[in-house]
């Protein structure tokens, strides 16, 4: 494993993290807090949308974000050959 490869692996990891953290920020702080008063004008079923993001939606999206990251990183580990061996590295 050479240094350039590792640097590239780390750079891609950082990019994944930044993208996913942006989504995390937008759904919770954006939709759930800052834009909540505006989104509350939209009603889906019994839920005002801003309220729903603040008390339900953001939590579901948090779960999804973690599993997306796990999937991406497991693939990245294998691609760069830095995955752990069976003995636990």
């Amino acid at each position: 494993m050479n240094d350039d490869n590792l640097k590239q692996y780390w750079a891609i990891n950082i990019r994944y993290v930044l993208i996913l953290i942006s989504v995390w920020f937008v759904v919770s702080y954006g939709f759930g807090i800052l834009l909540a008063p505006v989104l509350n004008n939209i009603q889906i079923g019994g839920f005002k949308l801003g309220f729903w993001f603040a008390q339900q939606g953001s939590i579901y999206i948090f779960v999804i974000l973690i599993f997306v990251y796990v999937y991406l990183m497991n693939k990245l580990d294998i691609h760069f050959g830095v995955e752990e061996t069976e003995e636990g590295s």
């Binding site: 807090i33 339900q56 939590i59 974000l65 973690i66 990183m73 590295s89």
Partner: protein
């Protein structure tokens, strides 16, 4: 059978289960005691983390708090789940790769300094003790409410149980007990929620139920109905809340970052075999947590609606039986200010302070309508009803007219939630003492056997101290817990993040940052919560940030101080930079 008999049965069964696990999983080495040999299955670890995480506050107090806060309750819902995204993406995998036992271990090695290690130990102990006091109180509360045992003896029984499995089994015992406790607590939380959701809306899934129409034939959505009730009574609409936006923002950040910085949560990810497992097990943990956290806001809406429609403008004489039982516990009281015999519910406090029941010769003095009378002076508001927030979950089954065994189940669930969190915290406390202080600082040549003995002894002392705080509590359960988050956010989080993502971060910067962040946050909270509670209102807060949200500012100050001081001093040694590099790759 009465609620009390059912409670004895459920508590008896669950407690024998916990003790059985304790005996089966006795730890024989420090590695087993501290991190269960790093051999825990990621799914098991996810479940254990969820139980570790969800405390008496999540289980007993949160839904009640939300039902009085409405939209503002989102700070807890998002704040106490969003931190797991930070954990999975920025902390857990790297700390697992680092592969030691504790958070101070990481801080001490990464910042090549015993001082940094000591500062981290002090932070870990401060955070954990603040948090554990609330748990023991929760145990005492459940015992006294359901089994009519004195709070003192309730706490003693809780201490004895935690002592058994935490002191004997260490992390191994705690992990498997937490799995059992998770099952108990989630079952206990969901059963009444299904029942009530079906009763009110016809949809048994609470997450969907609270967005559905009412079954009462009015063809109106539950949330619209609740907003309407709120407005009629003069409250802010349930779905809009009343805290300022910047305060909501700051509190949510403090809780999220605090979650990611809590040592008893972080340490759970040292217990899985691989980096890959650490990542996915955060995901499992959040699923298990989300089941409760997405149900809690639904319960909040159901119980709020039930409460208002049952009591408001109704005659006291027509109140159901549960109303009068809870009156005698001073958690739900009515003062007939206008003398019309009806209960008026309106904004503001009904009485000054917490209710004190008016006794004469050991008997409760009843008012004109048979209500429990109070000694408290009345306030000038129209409100005649005092409701303790904690009863929203405890009384929920009774309010909805559910069978007795459901109420008893809630008691067993509350105990499971409190005990599982207390055990996780006690382990952090004992590890900090035996490993971070004794082994790493005073007696590096100590044998593994001796260190294990020290770990057990300090766990024992920690149980006693936690019990003391449980009997003589420093404040409200939920409030005390919120402070711990601010402290974790302002002390650990920046040091760990910089330690992983910024290779050039040196010890001088990190130590200065942690100290300044911790002191600033402690001072702000101490000023408003302890020294001058009368000034604890938005006009005196800095930038409108409440003490609950100040950890966010503390964290930013920590970051700035770390970076500025860091620039002045030389880069860390090459070995440390190599170490930082190595934790970034699962294998390498």
């Amino acid at each position: 059978m009465s609620v009390q008999i059912w409670t004895y049965i459920f508590v008896g069964i669950t407690f024998s289960l916990y003790i059985g696990i304790a005996i089966w999983s006795k730890a024989s080495s420090t590695s087993e005691f501290y991190v269960a040999k790093g051999a825990v299955n990621p799914l098991t670890n996810g479940m254990a983390t969820a139980a570790d995480w969800m405390s008496a506050a999540s289980f007993l107090s949160m839904a009640g708090l939300i039902s009085f806060m409405g939209y503002d309750g989102a700070v807890y819902l998002m704040g106490w789940t969003g931190g797991y995204v930070l954990l999975a993406l920025t902390l857990a995998p790297y700390l697992r790769k680092f592969g030691k036992f504790t958070v101070p271990d990481f801080i001490g090695d990464r910042y090549y300094s015993q001082l940094a290690r000591t500062v981290a130990v002090v932070c870990a102990l401060t955070v954990s003790f603040t948090y554990v006091a609330g748990q023991m109180r929760g145990v005492g509360l459940v015992f006294s409410k359901f089994l009519e045992v004195d709070i003192f003896w309730g706490v003693i029984i809780g201490m004895a149980i935690v002592f058994m499995y935490a002191v004997l089994g260490g992390m191994k015992g705690i992990t498997y007990t937490q799995v059992a406790q998770y099952c108990v607590l989630i079952f206990a939380f969901m059963v009444p929620a299904f029942f009530i959701s079906a009763q009110l809306t016809g949809n048994p899934i609470p997450q969907l139920g609270f967005g559905s129409k009412l079954l009462d034939g009015s063809d109106i959505y539950l949330l619209d109905k609740l907003d309407q009730l709120h407005t009629e009574l003069g409250f802010a609409a349930y779905t809009s809340g009343k805290k300022s936006m910047q305060d909501i923002f700051f509190i949510t950040v403090a809780l999220m970052v605090g979650t990611a910085g809590l040592p008893h949560v972080i340490v759970r990810f040292f217990t899985v075999p691989k980096v890959k497992d650490a990542r996915i097990s955060v995901g499992y943990a959040l699923i298990f947590i989300a089941i409760l956290y997405t149900t809690a806001p639904a319960i909040a809406v159901f119980s709020r609606t039930n409460l208002i429609t049952t009591v408001n403008e109704q005659h006291y004489k027509e109140m159901p039986e549960w109303f009068t039982t809870w009156e005698e516990t001073a958690l739900l009281n009515w003062v007939d200010k206008n003398g019309d015999g009806r209960i008026t519910y309106a904004p503001g406090q009904a009485i000054v302070g917490n209710p004190e029941i008016n006794y004469a010769n050991g008997k409760i003095i009843r008012g004109e309508y048979g209500e429990v009378t109070l000694l408290n002076p009345l306030t000038s508001t129209e409100n005649e009803l005092y409701v303790d927030r904690d009863i929203m979950v405890l009384a929920n089954p009774e309010i909805a007219g559910l069978p007795n065994w459901v109420a008893a189940l809630v008691a067993a669930g509350g105990l499971a939630a409190a005990l599982s969190t207390a055990a996780g915290l006690l382990l952090v406390i004992s590890t900090s003492v035996s490993h971070d202080l004794i082994k790493k600082q005073f007696k590096p040549d100590i044998s593994d056997k001796k260190e294990l003995l020290f770990a057990r002894v300090s766990a024992g002392f920690a149980v006693l101290l936690a019990g003391y705080f449980g009997i003589n509590p420093p404040g409200f359960v939920a409030e005390v817990v919120a402070i711990a988050f601010g402290l974790a956010a302002a002390s650990f989080f920046p040091a760990i993040i910089l330690g992983i993502f910024y290779k050039k971060m040196n010890r001088e910067g990190a130590i200065a940052g942690m100290i300044v962040g911790l002191l600033f946050t402690l001072a702000y909270i101490g000023f408003f919560k302890l020294m001058y509670p009368e000034y604890n209102t938005p006009e005196y807060w800095w930038f409108g940030i409440s003490p609950e949200g100040i950890g966010t500012l503390g964290m930013l100050i920590n970051l700035v101080v770390s970076l500025v001081i860091g620039i002045i001093y030389p880069d860390p040694p090459v070995e440390v930079q190599e170490m930082v590099k190595s934790i970034r790759y699962p294998r390498a």
